[in-house]
């Protein structure tokens, strides 16, 4: 009897295993669905953390070289101006800039804003002009209102703008604390472009004096300092010097911030991943039990195959192909679903984990972080364990003796 090539044989075996998969449709579809859900959850986690890391990494090169903070009793406190001349004396330091920023909690809107004080005129000219949608206030009104209250001009993020849209901006006072005698007015002169939404969503940039008043920062104190070091190699040494000279100060270099970008999600996503692994383990035990607990007609079917001349290793490869096709389809479907869920639907459920209780949050339109290597990781996490679990049950099924069916009835 002519026998075909190895490849032809495998094609027939794949055909047969597909047939047997479709024959026991209900059980296999249930397993497929559970498998797809698991792979979906795993790849969703990895997608979202990958994208967030990627979003941060884009702008990480423009971070300040060294951020200097004053730590008192383990907590960050305002840094007095007296440190600035001494830091500038350190060789290699080009400039030391001061920063005034902090948070402001609006109880009525239950929103936590980031207040940042800087000289807004800097944003009006040159390269920074195009990061803001300037409000086209009629000229004379602008001069009039600006001149009378120069300190309270403000540029706000998109999220803040949406939040404040429904209250009449002119008559409302946002910044008021009971201890103040009168509230601080504000005058919005522009909002940040939606492209920078992920960074500027809850940001309120005020004139430095305005920020000082809102944050109640004494005139000679700043929130933290930024040290510019022209030679990137020197950043680490200068940070070390600052820490040595001023034990009360803490330095965070750009490399360290980038490191927190790369590792924080890795650590947490893997934490979520490993809790998912418990679910995957439970699923694999189910598979082990389903595959090894042969239903009587499955045992009879294999008995028939063995009786009409099938080898054990042919039956084994049928079982292998069944497992491979099932887990292959499941992992592919899981990944595609996860992509759609995160980048088309913008991760409705998962987003809340990252957003927490905040009321202002970005639209989560993330950059997709997809590369072929990712596929390999998902395959390893889904296909390899599945095949590992079905090796023994498949063998147990494949060695059923033909005379099992010789003797029993029907």
């Amino acid at each position: 009897m002519i026998s075909g090539s190895w490849f032809e044989r495998q094609k027939n075996i794949i055909d047969y295993s597909l047939q047997s998969l479709l024959r026991r449709r209900s059980k296999n579809i249930l397993i497929l669905i559970i498998f797809i859900l698991l792979v979906f959850a795993v790849s969703a986690i990895l997608f979202i953390t990958g994208s967030l890391t990627k979003e941060m990494m884009i702008t990480s090169n423009d971070l300040p070289d060294i951020t200097v903070q004053r730590i008192l009793g383990g907590r960050q406190v305002n840094i007095p101006a007296s440190f600035i001349p001494e830091i500038e004396k350190i060789p290699g330091v080009e400039a030391v800039e001061t920063r005034v920023w902090g948070y402001f909690y609006l109880a009525s809107l239950q929103a936590n804003f980031t207040i940042y004080g800087m000289d807004l005129t800097l944003l009006e000219d040159g390269e920074y002009r195009k990061i803001v949608n300037w409000k086209n206030i009629p000229d004379q009104a602008e001069n009039q209102s600006l001149s009378s209250r120069p300190d309270f001009r403000m540029i706000i993020g998109q999220g803040v703008f949406e939040l404040l849209k429904d209250i009449q901006m002119e008559k409302a006072y946002l910044f008021y604390q009971p201890s103040w005698e009168k509230p601080i007015p504000f005058d919005i002169i522009g909002t940040f472009k939606t492209e920078t939404e992920l960074q500027s969503n809850d940001l309120m940039v005020l004139q430095t004096e305005g920020a000082r008043r809102v944050l109640e920062l004494p005139p000679d104190e700043f929130t933290d300092l930024v040290v510019y070091v022209p030679n990137p190699e020197e950043i680490e040494n200068i940070a070390l010097k600052i820490r040595r000279y001023f034990p009360a100060l803490r330095t965070v270099t750009r490399a360290q911030i980038q490191n927190t970008y790369a590792s924080v999600f890795g650590w947490k996503s893997a934490f979520v991943l490993s809790s998912l692994l418990v679910a995957i383990l439970a699923f694999l035990i189910l598979i082990w039990d389903k595959a090894s607990g042969l239903s009587p007609d499955e045992k009879r079917e294999i008995g028939i195959l063995k009786a009409i001349g099938w080898d054990t290793d042919v039956v084994l490869s049928v079982k292998f192909w069944e497992g491979f096709i099932l887990s292959g389809i499941a992992s592919l479907a899981g990944i595609l679903l996860a992509y759609a869920y995160i980048y088309w639907l913008r991760a409705p459920g998962l987003r809340e984990i990252f957003i927490g209780w905040s009321t202002i949050y970005p639209s989560f339109q993330l950059i997709p972080d997809v590369d072929p290597k990712f596929l390999l990781l998902i395959v390893t996490i889904s296909v390899v364990p599945y095949l590992a679990v079905t090796v023994f049950p498949a063998w147990k099924a494949a060695i059923t003796d033909p005379d099992v069916i010789m003797r029993n009835i029907g």
Binding site: N112, Q199, T260, I367
Partner: protein, 107 residues
């Protein structure tokens, strides 16, 4: 080969679907490439790190430059501000200023 035609159908559906997603991925990538310089400008103008994903707690918004005890400031028993704290971890504090000093400092 009737049955493996099922497999072929499934594979074709997957190819179409991933093609669709690749197109979306590509469009998205191009779109964000234009935003790059706007974002970098913004980051240069305002030096604060981290994304404005959550403003639930101080140390979650700028977790890269937060300090050690702020997370405990809210409530000593909840090191993390659930659930967003679940997604962020305080950075390593190797650069906190608490070197071990030997000998007697008065000298």
């Amino acid at each position: 080969m009737r049955y493996s035609s099922w497999l072929v159908i499934v594979m074709v559906v997957f190819c179409l679907w991933s093609g669709l997603e690749y197109r979306h991925f590509h469009k998205q990538l191009l779109e964000t490439r234009q935003h790059f310089n706007v974002r970098c400008r913004f980051q240069k103008a305002i030096g604060l790190p981290n994304l404005a994903i959550t403003s639930a707690a101080r140390y979650l918004r700028h977790y890269s430059i937060t300090d050690l005890t702020t997370p405990f400031q809210d409530y000593p028993a909840s090191p993390d501000h659930f659930p967003a704290g679940f997604a962020f971890v305080p950075p390593d504090y190797s650069n906190m200023p608490s070197p071990i000093v030997f000998g007697n400092p008065e000298k």
